[in-house]
């Protein structure tokens, strides 16, 4: 059962974490709800950009599942569609030019693609939280920390003004804000980048959402602060059993945080695997290239990094066949004319490549 269920694999591989109180409590709720009601289930999501130069598929048939207490990393370089995928899931796409044209986003079993914007306002912040890359621009510069956190609480719960302030204080302590009581009355410009990101995280988890989407949450932070924020997210997730979709370009961060990894290239999922399997035996040539291009501290010094020639193609000039073929060392004539579909070469692993699909 665990062998064939991609969601069970990574959890099972870490008994120490799965056996703690939070984990088992959560598994119990999951079973009670039945396997069909995963916190987040994206099916065949397609997002198109309608521009003067024509319609371009920015996200092309993306499917992924995130279980309770699980962290799925969405990885790729800039322009591969990972942030647009997150915005599509949150229904925050800039429209025009971007619009979801197909597929479903199921939040605890309910498809939120067709729901009204009014309903989405209620869902965002309560059922699904989001953390963006730049904490400064996600906060209102002319409102105090307390006001911003309290707004989330008073919008989605019955808490009064005083209760909201008390809860905001609790939340700041929970996210490890130094001197939390005094920071309630601070404005964002009076806080460092790391502290702002803690405020954003406090707002995202204020209503205990079942799904948290983190889009490059630590990219703008220094390494020591990044380590603090990653540790915080892991702790909050373990306590609340949140499903986390973690978007990043940094394979180091992936290795530190993810249970499962989805690799995207030019809008499509090209590989999916548990984090251990992906780093041990990457199957898609693009994944192989990304891992080879990332230096690993402490490893024997390689003479050269294995770079990938060329760059991610712009969406309006995508090749007819496999989008990666022009940069691929293993490309065959077939790759230039035909798009490879996802195949399952081993249980819980998916790859879209003609050269490696046949195991």
């Amino acid at each position: 059962m665990q062998e064939t269920d991609p969601l069970a694999g990574p959890r099972a591989a870490r008994p120490a974490q799965a056996d703690d109180a939070g984990g088992s409590r959560f598994t119990a709720t999951l079973e009670a709800r039945g396997p069909a009601r995963l916190p987040l289930e994206v099916e065949n999501l397609t997002t198109t950009l309608f521009t003067r130069r024509g319609a371009m598929k920015a996200v092309d048939g993306l499917s992924l599942k995130v279980g309770a207490g699980e962290t799925v990393a969405l990885v790729g370089e800039s322009g591969c569609g990972k942030s647009l995928s997150a915005l599509s899931i949150m229904r925050l796409l800039p429209d025009p030019p971007a619009r979801v044209v197909g597929g479903a986003v199921k939040l605890n079993g309910r498809d939120i693609v067709p729901v009204s914007e009014e309903t989405m306002l209620d869902i965002r912040g309560r059922e699904i939280g989001m953390i963006f890359q730049d904490p400064m621009s996600s906060l209102n510069p002319v409102a105090t920390v307390e006001k911003q956190i309290a707004e989330v609480l008073t919008t989605h719960t019955d808490l009064g003004r005083g209760q909201a302030r008390a809860r905001a204080h609790e939340l700041l302590e929970l996210v490890g804000m130094p001197d939390a009581g005094r920071r309630l009355d601070a404005y964002p410009h009076q806080l460092s980048g790391g502290m702002c990101q803690r405020v954003v995280i406090a707002m995202a988890i204020a209503c205990s959402p079942s799904v948290l989407i983190a889009d490059e949450p630590t990219t703008a932070l220094d390494v020591t602060v990044q380590a603090q924020v990653l540790a915080l997210l892991k702790r909050l997730q373990a306590d609340g059993g949140m499903a986390m979709l973690f978007i990043t370009h940094d394979l180091g961060v992936v290795a530190e945080t993810a249970d499962r990894v989805v690799v995207m290239y030019a809008g499509r999922k090209v590989e999916e695997a548990s984090v251990d399997a992906l780093f041990e035996t990457p199957l898609h040539p693009y994944t192989v290239g990304l891992i080879g291009a990332t230096p690993v501290p402490g490893a024997e010094r390689a003479e050269r990094l294995a770079d990938i020639p060329g760059m991610v193609p712009p969406l309006n000039t995508l090749p007819h066949g496999c989008a990666f073929a022009p940069r691929c060392k293993r490309a065959m004539p077939r790759c230039l004319s035909e798009k490879p579909e996802l195949t399952e070469p081993a249980p819980g692993r998916l790859v879209a490549c003609f050269a490696t699909g046949r195991y």
Binding site: H249, A255, E256, T294, P295, V296, G298, A306, P309
Partner: protein, 313 residues
């Protein structure tokens, strides 16, 4: 012999809030043909130090000896001549290229300033573009027509124009995607083995520095806390800040990442306007004692040619 020798360099900025001690007494040597990595978090003064060596910011006190000449007091003609020996590449290759100037003109600028003849300049531009792997027709085009990685190649071509002995690389790959980053790092290494140029490689990305550097200097709040060989710093760091920095750096290997013991450093960098007395790191240091609050430690040998500034190593 050292190509670059800094002794007790100070850089101060006067701001409305007070005097910022951006670089606070840095002494450092860089040998011919060496790549020296300079690492630290934002605000530690590493970029300011790089700019001070280029004389792009005023040096308050201290000596910066390049190839036998102290450049700190130089002015006018003598300063221009020195800048031929030391060049710089920047993090944002778009911000460092004139958007209204063709790539050919940008790359030719150093030769024009040095008074080269037009034909020689044109030949040199062609050579430089081919060295950094850009097509010959690139010189008629404008910066916006190129990707980030290609723009960084243009910046490198311009830095190489007058055959400098030292190139200061200020976060040269931080704005680039993973696969393109590897291309630029490989290019820098190729150029080094071809022309024997030395690099001062400033970066916050420890895994990149570990890959490219021969020696590493770790900076905190305007001062150096540890300097040592690449292997010594990674395998056997001495200063508690170096240890914390390495522990915080993500490792692109899930098993190694899970296996390691990590102590997450608490708190954030104090303000350089009013740096704490004593050891600059004592406010965040896990092993700080009373003494650290009053006595500022100096760099002293800690074995295998490395130096560290800590009372307890």
């Amino acid at each position: 012999m050292s190509l670059l020798s800094l002794s007790d360099v100070h850089v101060r900025f006067n701001t409305a809030a007070g005097v910022v001690q951006a670089v606070n007494g840095v002494s450092l040597d860089l040998a011919v043909g060496e790549t020296l990595g300079l690492v630290g978090e934002s605000g530690c003064g590493k970029s300011t130090l790089g700019k001070a060596i280029m004389r792009l910011v005023p040096v308050a006190t201290g000596a910066i000896v390049v190839d036998g000449t102290d450049i700190a007091p130089l002015q006018g003609e003598a300063l221009t001549a020195m800048r031929r020996k030391v060049q710089m590449i920047f993090q944002d290759p778009y911000g460092s290229l004139n958007p209204r100037s063709t790539v050919g003109r940008s790359v030719a600028q150093p030769m024009v300033i040095a008074g080269w003849a037009a034909r020689e300049t044109a030949e040199r531009v062609d050579t430089l573009l081919s060295w950094v792997g850009l097509p010959a027709d690139a010189k008629q085009r404008y910066p916006h027509e190129f990707s980030g990685g290609q723009r960084q190649r243009i910046g490198i071509a311009r830095a190489l124009a007058l055959s400098p002995k030292l190139i200061i690389c200020d976060e040269p790959v931080s704005a680039l995607d993973v696969s393109v980053r590897a291309q630029v790092i490989n290019l820098l290494e190729d150029l080094k083995s071809r022309f024997g140029v030395s690099y001062l490689f400033i970066s916050h990305d420890l895994s990149v520095v570990e890959h490219i550097a021969d020696r590493v200097a770790v900076m905190y709040l305007g001062t150096l806390v540890e300097v040592g060989g690449r292997d010594q710093i990674w395998r056997n760091p001495q200063h508690p800040y170096t240890k914390a920095l390495l522990a915080a750096a993500p490792i692109a290997n899930p098993k190694a990442a899970r296996a390691r013991q990590r102590t997450v450093l608490q708190g954030e960098l104090p303000s350089p306007i009013d740096p704490p007395p004593g050891c600059p790191f004592h406010s965040r240091c896990p092993i700080a004692q009373e003494r650290c609050k009053a006595d500022r430690p100096v760099l002293r040998p800690v074995g295998s040619g490395a130096v560290a500034a800590c009372h307890f190593v």
